[in-house]
């Protein structure tokens, strides 16, 4: 079975690459690296016990989140002279924040939301990092589509209020 991994991996990489060609040329996030990391995480974490789709959606979205955040951290460490473990939020004016910095801000707020309201946080991960539609989220979490939509609206308000409180 292990022999199959390269096959699957290759196909996913091609898929991602095809998408990325159409994206802007400027950014440094390589699809190969992205999929590679995501895939390894999935395989390493859980072996091949992906019994259902819901699990996979969750895992995929979570993987993307981690990759993006780590990537953003690395970049902002470079930008801010390295050495610094965390992004120094006080220095940021939201309007001028780079995409990476914004990601980190959202992620920090999201971590707090996870402590307070894990269900809602899960929806944010699926939607924001996983790119799922309301319908897919609804299926994944086994709840109504309208509930998903409401949670997502509330979460957006909550996250922004939280980010602003941090600044």
């Amino acid at each position: 079975m292990e022999d199959l991994l390269p096959l699957v991996y290759n196909e996913l990489r091609n898929l991602a690459a095809a998408r990325m060609v159409r994206e802007s040329q400027g950014h440094t996030l390589q699809p190969t690296a992205l999929v590679h990391e995501a895939w390894l995480r999935l395989v390493k974490d859980e072996g091949r016990t992906w019994q259902n789709r819901a699990y996979f959606f969750n895992a995929a979205a979570e993987a993307m989140r981690r990759i993006l955040i780590e990537h953003a951290r690395r970049k902002s460490r470079l930008k801010h002279g390295g050495g610094q473990e965390r992004l120094n939020i006080e220095e940021i004016e939201l309007a001028e924040a780079s995409p990476d910095e914004k990601l980190l801000l959202v992620n920090d707020a999201l971590q707090q939301l996870e402590a307070e309201n894990p269900e809602r946080a899960r929806i944010v991960v699926l939607k924001y990092f996983g790119g799922l539609t309301n319908k897919e989220v609804a299926e994944t979490l086994d709840m109504g589509e309208r509930s998903v939509n409401r949670h997502w609206d509330c979460a957006k308000a909550w996250l922004f209020q939280n980010v602003r409180a941090q600044l």
Binding site: L12, E23, V35, W50, G131, L132, R146, D153, C154
Partner: protein
């Protein structure tokens, strides 16, 4: 931030407020919802503002995030992908190998979804069987479980044109396999072409296929995947015998069929969109019944006749998933005869040669009855299809015997309606204005709705579970009901009305849903009972007719309202006022907003056969308006138009009388008699309503003379009172149901005016 009850309330109002997109309306809502609670209000407004700031600040697409989402979704699709990889490994099975008790002898087929082997079973009996190993990776356990669920039903199928499915299991490598009776044959289309069967011979074979399906349907089994490669022809002593294979298999592997990603990833798996019914393409899962197979049969017949499927398989696949579904759901295929026109000359010649014919003759053969038979089987709306495989077979037999077939070309009106249905988006815009109004109501019942949603979801799950259990029984019941109706239709067409009526009498199962075929049966039987003077039975048939004839939701045609004209008077004569009033309520609910004056006129007539209460009158007012508007200022210039307009004037006279405006009732009555149309029923009824009105206006002499005029006509029609109807009537002589209504009005008017118990024999 606190998460107490107060916060919950803030969130509720916040979510509700989002439903209002226009700022002023949103403010309005907040005014109402917060009712001066300013901390609440500012908390909500803060949330609203924060939400939109979030979207501004973080919502815009940044490339990294966008690609992350793409990739996340690609990853999420990986289990399927992974499975595909597994399945595309070199096949695990090899000739000589043993799967369970079966020894693989020879590979006899290779399809999109698996390989088929001839195999030898040694225990408990030694015999040759076919073993189909499903190639694609799928959840073997649930495939086998689904198969087991249907196993009993499959086992009781016993028909010479059905190949038995014997067993299912898992191979050593974990793939599902099915064991079937070994059929040594080739697919039906190939057989027909190779032997240059002409159309008649093809139809003969096809009818046998229909019978096989009918048998399965009566056992509660739906095939779901009718296509040439599942209908094999073998020779028994030189006689070709079609055999339908793969029963139960599509059902067992359906879990995969409903998965969109799988479809797009492996088009070879589904493989047969060209044969898929619109409701299968819908993929709502629950909603497939025996009539899906009727559609599949329609496609097969199409292909047998023209060599092509209604929609090209390649085109469907290339168009992509959504477009394919749209095509299957909405696009009308060419008629078989027209399909030939689209062929290149040499292709057409070849097609004709295969059918032992030549192009022109073939086209002539197909156009007309065969076209309509095929198109009826291919109707998008399954209620318009043949309701059973048998009724399709019967219609073909009628064609072969040169008897008139049931299938008809669609009427122009029907085609127009379809156009409207297809363009509904355009029409819906008008409705959007009212949405804002309705939304207000919806939001105030917010909490209630939320709770109800949860309850409904529970209920829904329960229903689903019950449905799964009761499915087989229900399907069997439905199939039986449809079969009986189809049988009744045949009896009717052969003039054996009493037999047909008996059959329907015994029909215990309530009609599953409307269908044109059922409507035809009940209409015929109602009319027949009327001629027997059996009013109660007739009333029962007509009530079923009303139920069955709800295929057209539209009121553009007066088909449905015409049937009401039969039903109302019959119920009143039968003395069944309970059902009559129920009918009136239903009718008004259904047609209250019609803009079609013909429908309006008929609804008014049906609703006011006997005096009505204030609420009924009120709810008829808009219809009276439509009717009145349609005739004010118009001068009808054809006989047909005069006839129709005169009837509308009568409806208004009746309406005015029933609501107590006797002067207007007389005016409309005179107006009605002023048209140069002499339909006796309408004239009689107009006189009677005028008689009743004059009586109320305290003009007894006029009342009596009008009564006499009306009575003369009705008594001439029913010299011995109302026993039974001897002729069903026409526009000119008056339809029977209008005569009954005239009779009822006379029965109402006579005692009121001359006090005599007039005309009751």
């Amino acid at each position: 931030m606190n998460h107490g009850a107060a916060n919950e309330r803030v969130e509720e109002i916040f979510c509700a407020a989002l439903e209002w997109k226009v700022p002023a309306e949103r403010r309005n809502f907040l005014d109402r919802a917060c009712r001066g609670d300013s901390p609440l209000r500012s908390a909500v407004e803060e949330m609203l503002e924060a939400r939109s700031s979030f979207e501004k600040a973080f919502g815009q697409e940044q490339p990294a995030l966008a690609s992350a989402r793409e990739i996340s979704k690609a990853l999420a699709a990986a289990p399927d992908f992974h499975q595909q990889m597994v399945s595309e490994l070199p096949a695990g099975e090899e000739v000589g190998e043993r799967i369970g008790p079966y020894k693989l002898l020879q590979k006899i087929g290779e399809g999109g979804c698996g390989s088929v082997y001839m195999a030898e079973q040694e225990v408990p009996v030694r015999r040759r069987v076919a073993v189909k190993v499903i190639k694609l990776g799928m959840d073997t356990k649930s495939v086998i479980a689904r198969f087991e669920a249907e196993r009993q039903a499959l086992a009781i199928m016993d028909h010479p044109n059905i190949a038995h499915v014997l067993d299912a299991g898992a191979t050593g490598t974990g793939r599902p396999y099915f064991v079937m009776e070994l059929v040594r044959g080739i697919k039906i289309t190939a057989y027909c072409d190779e032997n240059q069967l002409d159309s008649r011979q093809r139809l003969d074979l096809f009818i046998q296929v229909c019978h096989a399906l009918q048998h399965a349907h009566q056992k509660g089994i739906i095939h779901r995947d009718i296509k040439p490669s599942n209908v094999l022809v073998t020779l028994h002593d030189g006689v070709p015998v079609p055999k339908v294979i793969d029963f139960g298999i599509a059902k067992a592997i359906e879990g995969k069929l409903t998965n969109q990603t799988v479809f797009t990833a492996y088009d070879q798996f589904v493989g047969t969109p060209a044969y898929m019914s619109p409701e299968q393409a819908e993929m709502s899962g629950l909603d497939v019944d025996t009539r899906s197979d009727v559609y599949g049969l329609g496609v097969l017949l199409y292909e047998l006749l023209t060599g092509k499927t209604p929609f090209d398989q390649q085109e469907l696949l290339q168009a992509g998933w959504e477009e394919m579904r749209r095509t299957l759901r909405e696009r009308e295929p060419h008629r078989p005869s027209t399909k030939l026109d689209g062929m290149r000359a040499e292709e057409l010649t070849q097609t004709a040669i295969h059918r032992h014919s030549e192009p022109r003759r073939l086209k002539l053969l197909l156009s007309g009855d065969l076209d309509w038979i095929v198109m009826k089987a291919l109707e998008k709306d399954r209620r318009r299809r043949y309701q059973t495989a048998n009724s399709l077979a019967m219609d073909i037999q009628r064609y072969l015997h040169s008897e008139p077939v049931i299938a008809r070309p669609p009427s122009r009106l029907y085609r127009f309606q379809k156009l409207v249905r297809r363009n509904q988006g355009v029409f819906i815009g008008v409705g959007a204005v009212s949405v804002a109004l309705i939304a207000g109501l919806a939001i105030s019942s917010w909490l209630f709705v939320r709770e109800r949603e949860a309850r409904q979801e529970q209920a829904h799950l329960r229903v689903e579970a019950e449905q799964a259990r009761g499915n087989e029984a229900r399907l069997r019941g439905e199939a039986e009901a449809r079969a009986k109706l189809a049988q009744a239709a045949v009896f009717l067409s052969r003039g054996k009305t009493a037999e047909a009526d008996l059959l329907v009498e015994k029909l215990q199962i309530p009609l599953a849903e409307p269908s044109l075929e059922a409507a035809g049966v009940f209409r015929g039987l109602g009319d027949w009972n009327v001629t027997q003077g059996r009013w109660r039975t007739a009333g029962d048939r007509f009530l079923k007719l009303v139920q069955a004839n709800q295929v057209d939701k539209s009121d553009m045609t007066d088909d449905a309202t015409r049937d009401l004209l039969r039903t109302g008077p019959t119920l009143v004569v039968a003395g069944d006022l309970t059902n009559y009033r129920k009918l009136v309520r239903e009718t008004i609910r259904r047609f209250a907003s019609t803009q079609n004056p013909v429908a309006g006129e008929q609804v008014i007539k049906v609703s006011l056969i006997v005096p009505a209460d204030g609420a009924t009158i009120q709810s008829l007012l808009p219809l009276a308006g439509v009717v009145q508007q349609s005739i004010s200022g118009t001068v009808p210039d054809t006989a047909k138009e005069t006839y129709m307009v005169a009837w509308r004037a009568f409806a208004l006279s009746l309406f005015e009388y029933r609501r107590g405006d006797f002067t207007n009732a007389v005016i409309w009555g005179q107006n009605c008699l002023g048209y140069g149309d002499h339909t006796p029923t309408r004239i009689a009824m107009s006189h009677l309503i005028m008689a009743l009105s004059y009586q109320q206006l305290n003009q007894p002499a006029l009342a009596r003379s009008e009564l006499a005029l009306g009575r003369e006509l009705v008594e001439a029609k029913f010299p011995h009172g109302l026993e039974k109807i001897t002729e069903l009537g026409s526009d000119a002589s008056g339809f029977w149901h209008d005569w009954i209504m005239a009779y009822l009005l006379l029965r109402e008017a006579a005692p009121a005016i001359d006090g005599a118990a007039a005309f009751v024999k």
